[in-house]
């Protein structure tokens, strides 16, 4: 504390340490809120369903996502990344995940949405297991905080079934 430079150094050191501590506590405060998101996906139509020349099956579908993710947003949330995946079981793999749609929710105001869309990414099976296959649509999300730990969770919606024939 005897010279100007020493005082500046001490102040900046303590200042940054305290700021880091505040960020840690801010990150821990995220654990206090318990999010209660809701989501509902409705498959409106299977537009087409074909076998590619390589033997893999590909399907195009139209669906409607209604979700309310507002409760995920706390004061320490920067954005939420959300994606919809089709999940199904095949003899070879116990879990197949195909991402159909994704989005970034920048704020709480945009967290309650209704989207009517076809699949943004191609739904291709590695093989030909899809005919008549029962599958889940799972909404996954990653909550990205301003500081600290990232949270991830999902809602699985069951009871969807592929068409029995190519179209």
């Amino acid at each position: 504390m005897h010279s100007l430079g020493f005082r500046v150094n001490a102040l900046l050191t303590l200042g940054v340490t305290v700021l880091a501590l505040m960020c840690v506590i801010a990150s821990l405060s995220d654990n206090l809120s318990v999010p209660s998101p809701s989501a509902n996906v409705q498959v409106l139509n299977f537009n087409w369903f074909q076998k590619q020349s390589e033997g893999n099956e590909e399907v195009s579908l139209t669906f409607k996502i209604a979700a309310d993710l507002q409760s995920m947003f706390t004061w320490n949330t920067k954005q939420v990344f959300v994606f919809l995946a089709a999940e199904y079981e095949t003899p070879k793999n116990s879990l197949n995940q195909v991402s159909l749609w994704d989005g970034i929710i920048p704020s709480k105001e945009h967290a309650k949405f209704l989207i009517h869309t076809t699949n943004k990414y191609r739904f291709v099976d590695q093989g030909s297991n899809l005919r008549g296959k029962e599958f889940n649509l799972t909404l996954h999300w990653h909550v990205m905080p301003k500081t600290g730990k990232m949270f991830a969770d999902k809602i699985a919606m069951t009871g969807y079934r592929m068409p029995k024939e190519y179209r």
Binding site: M1, L4, R7, L11, L14, V18, M22, I25, A26
Partner: protein, 100 residues
């Protein structure tokens, strides 16, 4: 800045920074705005810098009183013995200690 001033500056710095941190966090958490927290804390750091970094007059209210040079000449500094150089402690004049 004198000794008392240095102590005061250090304590002021710590107290001010921590107080601003607490106020900033509470305000940010209650208003739900991370930006508010950072802003209040930034203002706090700037204010603390202005208070504790410059050499203000109130850090110099306890100046050291040095002896007058003429007074010092009347009591010349004792010449240290060569063997006493190893231990310039307070009781270096004790013969037993010098022997060790």
């Amino acid at each position: 800045m004198d000794w008392q001033g240095q102590k005061l500056a250090e304590q002021l710095m710590q107290i001010l920074l921590l107080a601003f941190a607490v106020v900033a966090f509470a305000t940010g958490y209650i208003s739900g705005s991370f930006q508010m927290m950072v802003l209040i804390y930034a203002v706090g750091v700037v204010l603390t810098t202005l208070v504790t970094v410059p050499n203000w007059p109130f850090f110099n209210r306890h100046p050291l009183k040095w002896l007058d040079p003429s007074e010092a000449e009347k009591h010349p500094k004792p010449q240290e013995a060569v063997s006493a150089k190893k231990k310039p402690a307070k009781n270096s004049s004790t013969p037993t200690q010098e022997a060790s």
